[in-house]
Symmetry: C2
């Protein structure tokens, strides 16, 4: 028997009942395409509190108990199909939206993942964040983000603390620290499921990464095959796993061909740093026919520095980068680079995290994506001597 239905929302003492019709502006008489008005909730805009439609309103509308509504919400098996669809219809009619906070409090999960990001100005982290969000939304999760401003254990710890205060179900760490530092994550993160992105694969940790070592090899191989022998390497910051891993890959391939970098420079990922260190090196008379930069921004800076000395890329010096920014194909000259699929990486990390959250006690293998070489016009055979 349907109990007190009627004005499911009728509370709100005073308030304007239904008189809001003739207001001068706004209006917009047509109400979308829904021909069945049914029970228009229609918040009073004067009222202070939004007064949400709850599970009880839905129950009343569908003439079921709130418990049944709850079951529908949670995909409980014991609900007759007919009832289920009645409930769903009621939810639609009332524009019901479950209260995330209440669910979170009562149930165990909040359907929220936290993402810790370092490096806003860099292309990769941003792309990953976006694809994580996209994937999360598809899975019914929302994303809380924290940008870490200094890549230290302390800075990360602070960010994690903030995320945990928000009670996220799990955390994705786009903070490419090294194993040593990363091992400390475990203490901080305690019992929260987490995934390390683009970090060093470690046993007992969920890591999703791009094979930077292979990338470093690919870049070096490309340069070596062109015939270069006087090769400079421009590294990224030592604290970054990506940076050292790429470097090692590069060195590894060169060694295999009995080559050694004639020069090793080190920047902070920015074009400014690439420019600066390359300028310095050139000023000191460094001679190289190819430069392997750890990312595209530094490559740009390096090219600029080289060009300022009157040399031509790639005729005099070849330059190769990493990442493949959307602009990289349009630099002058278009930049040869090693492309990373950041979006795939982000999506994969989210899937891994959801696995951890929803199927606890597992130990998923770290997964690794392979980067691809994009040959453009900033590399060529070395000049004849």
């Amino acid at each position: 028997m349907p109990n007190l239905n009627s004005a499911a929302t009728g509370t709100i003492p005073s308030a304007t009942a239904t008189d809001t019709d003739t207001t001068p502006s706004s209006n917009n008489g047509a109400s979308d395409k829904d021909p069945s008005p049914a029970k228009e909730p229609l918040r009073a805009k004067v009222g202070l509190r939004p007064k949400a439609t709850t599970i009880l309103d839905v129950a009343a509308r569908a003439s079921v108990s709130h418990q049944t509504v709850s079951r529908v919400l949670n995909d409980h098996p014991a609900v007759a199909p007919a009832t289920r669809s009645r409930v769903l219809a009621a939810m639609r009619d009332l524009d019901y939206r479950p209260n995330a906070a209440a669910r979170h409090l009562a149930g165990r999960r909040g359907h929220t993942v936290g993402v810790l990001v370092y490096g806003v100005s860099y292309f990769g982290p941003t792309q990953m964040l976006a694809s994580v969000e996209q994937a999360a939304r598809a899975r019914g999760y929302s994303v809380t983000v924290i940008f870490v401003h200094n890549l230290t254990v302390q800075g990360i710890e602070e960010g994690v603390r903030a995320l945990r205060a928000g009670r996220v179900d799990g955390i994705i760490m786009i903070t490419p620290l090294h194993q040593v530092e990363a091992s400390r994550h475990h203490e901080i993160l305690d019992d929260v499921p987490y995934v390390l992105v683009d970090a060093e694969p470690m046993p007992d940790r969920a890591v999703v990464a791009i094979d930077q070592f292979a990338g470093g090899r690919a870049a070096a191989q490309h340069i070596a095959l062109l015939g270069h022998r006087r090769i400079a390497v421009l590294r990224g910051p030592d604290e970054w796993y990506d940076a050292t891993s790429r470097y090692q890959g590069t060195i590894s391939l060169l060694a295999q061909r009995r080559l050694l970098p004639v020069l090793t420079l080190s920047g902070d990922w920015t074009a400014a740093s690439g420019y600066q260190v390359t300028c310095d090196a050139l000023a000191q008379g460094a001679a190289f026919t190819a430069l392997i930069a750890a990312n595209d921004q530094m490559a740009v800076g390096a090219m600029r520095a080289i060009q300022e000395t009157g040399k031509v890329v790639p005729t005099d010096v070849s330059v190769i980068g990493f990442d493949d920014l959307p602009e990289s194909a349009y630099f002058n000259p278009p930049l040869t680079t090693v492309r990373q699929d950041f979006r795939a990486l982000g999506a994969a990390s989210l899937e891994r995290l959801i696995d951890l959250i929803e199927t606890p006690q597992q130990n998923p293998p770290s997964s690794v994506l392979v980067p691809t070489l994009m040959v453009r016009s900033s590399t060529a055979a070395p000049p004849k001597e």
Copy 2:
């Protein structure tokens, strides 16, 4: 609000689960061993869930009532300083973290702001997002982000819906649509406080923007003052407020000097589009000595196209952009551009939103930041004829 950042790090705080010694059977005399009897809220006997430290634990530790703890948490005035610090100490000792979900449910606010972002690949939105987050954290709010993948009313509506489902206290819209479209936001957003970022200033709406019109004028003025008369303009997408506003500013200044663009092109912000349309124009024999691009990426593409025809920037053609990417100073040649302070914009928008949330019923004036011209090497006087 009290500072909950604990530096405690004591090993495993919060009542380790008594670590049942060896034999699980017998013993356990059931003799109440709890030194602080107080209230024992009857935890689940089957230890499935993690059990959190609550306000009650803190109260017990500080020998005060839960009410007092609550007062401390909410900055209620009527708490003696001595008591307050005792409570704070207790919170620190216990590594207490307020349960966001519970606060949200009980109180009205969840201390969460939603950010709707369009344009991941673009520099500006990302920067703004990061600075919003930073500012939010400083104010005790966390940030939930949604990336919109197609800039239509529908796409935005979808994003807003997702944010509202997460029960955010307010929304920052980094979705630079035009007034026409933006007016629809009001329906969608209903009663949620929101701020439009980098959108057209409108009465009755909170808007925080950069004065793109002024930026457009600045760019045009720079070009005009160099003596150019055959000027091409490369616009951004029409749907973007930034794009049209910059364009209008440019036109406005040119008109003032009795000039008209000899050519108007239109791209989608990407370097690829800038390259493409410029190539096409040049192939058709377009002749111009300067090009005003609506952003730096398109400027890069345009420069590339120009350079491929054998012309030199800026000797033959000057190019100016907008934004000032971190790389822009290192392009070949270094790009003259109009710089926008995205970080300031983000921070300002957050402050505005918090105002709206915490002091409802106000109508804050839209605030506007002014961009600055950065003169570098991609612009020069036109070639002598």
